[in-house]
Symmetry: C2
Subunit: 406 residues, 2 copies
């Protein structure tokens, strides 16, 4: 089996996570691509020589960040015929055209899913899935820090400084949060998305942006009264044959696909006549998320995926699973019914989470939600309950997804 040699530049949070992922999922990547991925060298602040790593790599993963030396390394790698995968939004939003041209000239792939929204696959979807769509507008919550801060202000009534401090405490905001809260990080990402959606070169300097530092809890309160929710939203849209790209705080009416995106999440909505709109959402740019996007790019660069990989590790199909249930009983309104039903459930180790009881003489209803339990066990309890003489109709059950999204 041949090797595919990956040179890694940068060993920060994302670089570390990428090295771990590559080790954990190397065998799967090998099965998909037919090539065994190996880390051929790592360039850190303390060691490694770029030229040597380049020499023994088929692909360069650039996770240094910033402009130089990242720009120089990426250009040299592509000119030497190496594919490049990067998560560097600064570089792409300021020197994108230079990099794209270098990739075209060298006939290599330049992939950068991790530069925009972590594992949320907006870059690939814009470049590939929607290659046949005429896009009208892209709306994005592309900065998790500001979305977390605004969510906390709305949820807990915190002031901006309080919510920022909370974000810093939880690791969602840097000690110096200026790039995030000032809107510049989101502006860089919107420049990249606008370039892809509208085939128009957009540099960071051309994106108008505002941040969230001026938002008060007072604004949040009035917004709630008016039925609005506040997000820091990036917009790229066609206007009168031109293109507008901007980032600013934006009130959304409930029902908008971005209105329900809370916490340190990212989400992007793409609108076109053909598709109406599609939305992609998920956690923003954490280490493992961005590393997953980088590895997806690496796999794509290793081999253009043609069809489903061979099914080599077939799992066994499971029939009996754990689920919560809603149980609806129509019963005679007489004493002891709840105790009887609860007793049967308890016998089968089914535990009750909440109950609604309504007495309407012959039409009394007993509705419960039970905690997750093996379905076969719940069905056994149901069968016993169905035999109760107090029942006025067959029992009804509907599954309930656990609050922990189980």
């Amino acid at each position: 089996m041949s090797e595919f040699r990956i040179g890694l530049l940068g060993r920060g949070t994302v670089g570390d996570a990428f090295a771990v992922l590559l080790r954990e999922h190397g065998a799967r990547v090998e099965r998909i691509t037919g090539l065994r991925p190996v880390l051929s060298g790592v360039l850190t602040r303390d060691g490694g020589a770029f030229e040597e790593i380049l020499e023994r790599s088929d692909l360069i993963v650039e996770l240094i960040g910033g402009i130089e030396p990242a720009r120089d390394y990426v250009l040299r790698a592509m000119r030497a015929g190496r594919h490049v995968v990067t998560a560097n939004k600064q570089l792409l939003s300021r020197y994108g055209e230079e990099l794209f041209e270098a990739a075209r000239e060298a006939g290599v792939q330049l992939r950068f899913e991790g530069a925009v929204a972590g594992a949320v696959p907006v870059v690939r979807v814009l470049q590939e899935s929607l290659a046949g769509a005429h896009i009208e507008r892209v709306h994005g919550i592309v900065n998790g820090t500001t979305n977390f801060i605004l969510s906390e202000m709305a949820r807990a009534g915190l002031s901006y400084p309080e919510a920022l401090a909370e974000a810093q405490r939880l690791g969602y905001a840097e000690a110096d949060p200026a790039e995030d809260v000032g809107g510049r990080d989101a502006a860089a990402k919107m420049a990249i998305l606008a370039r892809l959606a509208f085939d128009t070169p957009v540099r960071l300097e051309q994106v108008r942006y505002e941040g969230i530092e001026q938002i008060t809890s007072d604004d949040m309160e009035y917004a709630r009264e008016l039925g609005l929710g506040l997000k820091l939203v990036g917009t790229a849209e066609r206007i009168d044959g031109g293109l507008s790209v901007r980032v600013h705080p934006l009130f959304l009416y409930p029902g908008h696909p971005l209105a329900s995106i809370n916490g340190p999440f990212n989400a992007v909505t793409v609108e076109s006549r053909e598709i109406t709109e599609i939305t992609m959402s998920g956690p923003g740019a954490g280490g493992p998320q961005t590393a997953t996007a980088v590895l997806g790019d690496v796999v794509s660069a290793m081999i253009p995926p043609a069809t489903a990989p061979m099914a080599t590790k077939a799992l066994e199909l499971v029939d009996d699973v754990v689920s919560g249930f809603y149980l609806h009983l129509q019963v005679a309104d007489q004493p002891g019914v709840l105790a009887t039903v609860a007793g049967i459930l308890s016998t089968h180790q089914v535990s009750v989470k909440s109950v609604v009881q309504r007495g309407l003489e012959e039409q009394a209803r007993l509705v419960m939600v039970v905690h997750p339990v093996l379905e076969s066990r719940f069905q056994a309890a149901m069968a016993e309950i169905a035999e109760l003489p107090v029942l006025r109709a067959p029992p009804r059950a509907i599954r309930v997804l656990d609050e922990q999204f189980g």
Copy 2:
């Protein structure tokens, strides 16, 4: 410039929409791929000969649906060395392994984004973006008909027969809705997704499924009381080293990413340790949506996308855009303030949508939302308002996204 010849099998809703898209976006596809896409032949119930079309095509788009003759044509096309793009969920969920093997043997691409969730790019994301992730669970609302019916029951308090009739009237349900409301359509799609997410062959016959015919408006009412929302959800998940694939009505707690998916929409959530979870949503399988997915697949088969396409039709960057605004004024509580402010807004053709006024003596607040207006015009009004002597603090403005998602 070379041609890329596409043979189209089937000329129903999706086939028609695909032919239209190909005509409209042919030039863009040519720019991306370097090849000019041409429709080399169309097989309909009334005309065309498969062998002749195959002979003069580089790729076959199969939109006939059903098992035979679609299966025969797809296999013959791949064995003759042609790429195939299909949106046929029946075929893939019942004969997937046979087709995947034929594609591998012939070294051709078999793509099928349109088979699962219209333009929502779940197939590509599972196959490519998440190639480096260990997926734990996939949850999907993959049938728009049932999601519309359940949404109407919840929203308008309709009974199941009433909501079904409404769905049929609006074209969201077939005259014979059995495949949709019985859960079999969703089961076929989940078989395909489970195959991709878990590398395990799953046939439609192995998926347990229930439909929504038994759901009553009564259930919906109790659910609301218990804080739950009801969806028809497909689940594929690892359980104790095995795999469970199933479709059934499922109550969701608010906050779950699928809980806010209403109307004839599709959405899929993918969970893994590395990415936590990502969600993709959009309209289900309408003609233009599915055709957009098919065209995205065709473009990918024409050329593995390496980098951003050349920016040939650069749009002009627009600075002044239309937006609604929230306007927050801290004013002296004296008569005539509202009239003065409204007068200034009106002079600048800014029209007021809603007002909240609170008198607190020196700290009175006047908060308004104005209808969308050119930003420069709103800023001019703001500048004038800022000069008013009754103001106790600088005026504050935050943009509001229009309810029509403008």
